[in-house]
């Protein structure tokens, strides 16, 4: 999957004091062919982040010296807008809000599945690559108008409910990337809890059916055990 990411040689900074977690993150990201640097403390991480030109930073919320929230706050104060994935053992909703408010771009709770972590990093990379996102997206005749919130296939409008549109929009904006159910739930519905396996699945199934009825080729792929991926993988 990582073969489809255009930012092939993206470099990522991992700020994490726990060695085993850091190893896991580095291993997973290296497997996705990213260049990875690691810092064990907040101070070292901050120095690296200020100096190096990283595409994404993963940042532990709890660090021995400078708190993760301060690190990201400091970065943002210095007008460094590198996307930050906050990683924390604190899964409380308030904690998430606090992390995002401090300037984090996404929030992941420990323990996490490393593919989920990688998927989130890829979405952040994509966001950086398309800082100004186009108002129209088109994949194989399937087109969405992000201003009018409408979708069409081969010029024929698709009748989509608002959430179906949001779902399609999120999938298409991140085409070629694995999106986990949790990520979809967070982005489309805006809630941060475990939605259960079936819930997102039935929505995807509904969307697939509508696309199929319009004659659209199967573009929404299931990644077993992980989530979904939009794009032509044949």
């Amino acid at each position: 999957m990582s073969a489809m990411i255009d930012s092939q040689s993206a470099s990522i900074l991992v700020i994490e004091d726990d060695d085993s977690t850091a190893e896991e993150i580095v291993a997973e990201l290296t497997a996705h062919a990213f260049r990875v640097d690691r810092a064990g403390t907040g101070r070292a991480g901050l120095m690296l982040a200020l100096r190096g030109n990283y595409d994404v930073i993963t940042l532990d919320r709890m660090l021995p010296d400078i708190d993760g929230l301060s690190v990201v706050g400091d970065l943002r104060a210095r007008r460094i807008h590198t996307p930050v994935l906050m990683i924390s053992a604190l899964s409380d909703v308030d904690e998430r809000v606090r992390g995002l408010r401090a300037g984090g771009d996404d929030y992941l709770t420990k323990p996490f599945a490393s593919d989920e972590m990688a998927a989130r990093v890829e979405v952040l990379l994509r966001r950086r690559a398309h800082a100004a996102e186009p108002t129209r997206l088109r994949v194989q005749g399937l087109q969405i108008d992000r201003v009018a919130h409408s979708a069409s296939f081969d010029g024929h409008d698709l009748e989509l409910k608002p959430t179906e549109y949001q779902l399609l929009d999120f999938l298409m904006r991140n085409s070629g990337q694995t999106l986990t159910r949790t990520m979809i739930f967070e982005h489309v519905w805006g809630y941060h809890f475990d939605p259960g396996t079936n819930l997102i699945e039935v929505h995807i199934a509904g969307l697939r059916k509508k696309l199929e009825q319009a004659g659209c080729p199967p573009l929404i792929n299931t990644v077993r055990g992980s989530g979904y991926l939009f794009g032509d993988v044949r």
């Binding site: 308030d94 599945a113 959430t163 809890f193 475990d194 939605p195 259960g196 929505h203 077993r224 055990g225």
Partner: protein, 457 residues
Amino acid sequence: MFAELWRITSFRLTVLYGGLFALAVVGLFALIYWQTARYQNQQVDQILLNQVHVFSTATADQLDDDIAYEIARDIRRIGFFGVFAADGKALAGNLARIPQGLILNGKPRALPVERNDDLFPQALEVRALGRTLDDGRVLVVARDVALLEQIRQSLLRGCFLIAAVILLLGVLGGVFYSLPAVRHIRDIDRAARRIADGDYSQRLPLGRRNRELDVLAQIVNAMLDETERLMGEVKTASDNIAHDLRTPLTRLRASIYRTQQSMDKTSLHRDALNHALTQTDLLLTRFRALSRISEIESKRRRAGISPTFLEPVLRTLTELYEPLANRGGVKLSLRIESSPSAVCDGELLFEAIGNLLDNAIKFTPAGGVVCVTLGGTQAEPVISVSDSGPGIPPDLRKSVLHRFFRADDARNTPGSGLGLSLVDAIVRLHGFGLVLDDAPEGGLRARMSCWQRRMPG
């Protein structure tokens, strides 16, 4: 009220002692009366014997004079005298005939007197003595003992009055001493009910005056402390297990996932790995749910709580769960009876109702219905989720909210099996109410009262 008082030992004891004391007073008065009567009778008898002695030593002529003199001297008209011939004919004195039933043996005795007796007018009780003189005449001396009767009446009156006062004081004292106990017992009852409802932070109240009750309450409270501590330990242990196992489980899942990804699509082991992945996910879901519940339970900050319009939340929810319901052949509907708002953490409320919906849809067979209703007033909004599924038997409705209740049979149902405990935790965090009862649709109805009914926690 009286029945409740009567249950209090101190009240019963006070009334019982009051009664016994009153009885003792009655006995005392009876004794006094009896002693007084005896003394009085002895006095009267002595007078009678003296008079007879004086009369019997007199000659026949002197006797008449003596009797006339005695009668004249008796201003109170309590003395009766009579001299009769052997045939009973009255010869002298103020008695018309020999009183009936009088034995002429020279011993004084009480004579039965009827009211308005022609022989002893106005007398109530009479002691009399009769004897035959040496010349064959009969001498009768009698004396009205009205004084004794007066004493008896005043004694009786006093006796009843004092007994009544003692009884009254006894009852009043009993009430005075027992009312705090009644109140205390009511408080204990209330606290005990709350404890039985699962609120183990409650303690039995201690009173100020009821020492025995306090001793008992302290013992029970100590037991509750221990129970709460043990329950807390079980909870902490399970939370810790859930938490500690999540990291290795996540790593296990990652390795299975990586292996599966790196495998040839045609490999025969791929299915086995997929199965392992599904099972690991199931475990992780359950552990995540456990951690989530303890997280919500330990949540003390109330940052996310603000007035939230419930209708949009429920519309989003029904829309979110509708495809799931449709796939199971279940009709999901939303009924808005009123559109109140509630002071709550919108995200947590969403999660709670989502779990209720998930459960309802999961357990309702195809062809059934699940209905979400928003109603109640602005001050007291009520959200209910009802279904036409098999429901939950009334005796199990309380236990399904407990965290480990379904742990055994949840194995075969998808999801964590902890949904209702999670809902309960969220409801308790807000201080809301949750009642499970029968749905008009035939299955289970979960009614969430979204206003603060008790202190949150």
